[in-house]
Symmetry: D2
């Protein structure tokens, strides 16, 4: 596709406005057309009652990864909002670091469907898959707001 889409700097700029990603300590590690990867170090204050990362934390980084993956294929000037997502928690979220990979499955003019995956990393390498997301994102064009 030679179609002009949003570039990685714009994605990074928008992500930096997500104050919640900073509270979580999540940062982008890879941005390419149709795919965004975020990483998050484990922290004791992001847990549920058993000391696993809270399902909401896992979901948050998967949602941002999917949303920005969708945005990479949208027209310059567009913005993206989450319509809905569904997440299965596959394993207790224990680990040193967590990687959320958002991938576009189908990119439409209005709606984009993404698949998200969160893996726990040990020594920087994927150790186990902790969550699987299926998400629908919507484009907000620069004009329609």
């Amino acid at each position: 596709m030679s179609r002009v889409t949003i570039d990685a700097d714009d994605i990074r700029a928008s992500l930096s406005r997500q104050t919640f990603m900073q509270v979580l300590g999540a940062e982008p590690v890879a941005i390419s057309p149709g795919s965004v990867v975020l990483e998050l170090p484990f922290r004791d204050d992001l847990c549920q009652q058993n000391g696993f990362l809270h399902a909401g934390v896992i979901t948050s980084i998967a949602d941002s990864a999917c949303g920005y993956a969708a945005l990479t294929l949208m027209d310059p000037g567009s913005d993206v909002l989450s319509v809905e997502f569904k997440v299965n928690m596959l394993e207790p979220a224990i680990g040193e670091r967590f990687r959320a990979i958002g991938t576009v499955v189908r990119s439409g003019r209005t709606l984009t469907v993404c698949s998200g995956e969160v893996v726990a990393l040990t020594d920087g390498k994927p150790d186990k898959q902790v969550a699987l997301m299926q998400a629908t994102m919507i484009a907000r064009s620069p004009r329609t707001g």
Copy 2:
């Protein structure tokens, strides 16, 4: 039902071990059999790129409300984990305060299905529904761990 289930103090004790709820500033405001309500004040550091509460924050409090609603109907000594959930974002999450209401739809020996709702409050009153969740929770018995 005169069946003995977990009491509200145990729910509150478990919730207080969810360190992430403290980071979010979420607190229980009502606990009864089959229902748990949490509230969260709006904060600028919990937002996405447009200054709305991040969908992950909304999801986190809905998940905890649903999980603990499920736990209220489980055997004493049980614990609860999220199997999966699906959330629709209905309106931009703007407001002074947000209330997540978790309600048990069907309580089984192993699995519990819950419905979750998040509403924005203005002057302490429900103003608009911002999210709807449908969630599956699983009981971990004191023995099976």
Copy 3:
């Protein structure tokens, strides 16, 4: 709302073009703004391996009920398509007759979020809830196709 929307006859006409509803034996029993109810008699040839109605049958009538509930609030001439849905099966689908109730939760210009419920009927009365759906529908306007 005094806004002009699609009338019940148009809903009925569109439903009658859903050939699959005829194969299932599903018929509308109530149509009002924001709500559509379909019913289906139990049949041995619509089952899964244990003799319960197949989850796909339950889902099909819930999907049509939700889709047409969404259409009741759309502009005249619009059509509706399912974007996505999530269904929890709550009880084995055994019974004489099944009722699917689709209800609009939030109606937007493009997207409509619906809640669907399927109940088993005994002697014509609701006996137990067998499934719960949360669905997203999209409007296709007469012009955009």
Copy 4:
């Protein structure tokens, strides 16, 4: 894994008891550990109002493919039930033939998470992806029933 699981003949036998698959004309084309593939020819009487296969038909074959994929990894004598699933419709379901591929993502003692995909076939070859499913299945052991 040298663990003994259900064999393909038992899967086929259970599938043949799903009367609804026969009504749809769906048949297994591949069964291997962790994966089941079903196919269905297009038929005019399985459609929604625009002449596309009804989303419920697509969902039905994806659900059966996922459920039996889960069953392939369960203990001999087990049965499987759908707990819940979520489906995104990606493209209008037009085509000559449809293939549903159910794949196990995580296999647990009680719960199995599957990914399902439905593709339209043209001249027997995958032409486009029409739906994506994420599903949770539960094992019923021969004893617990």
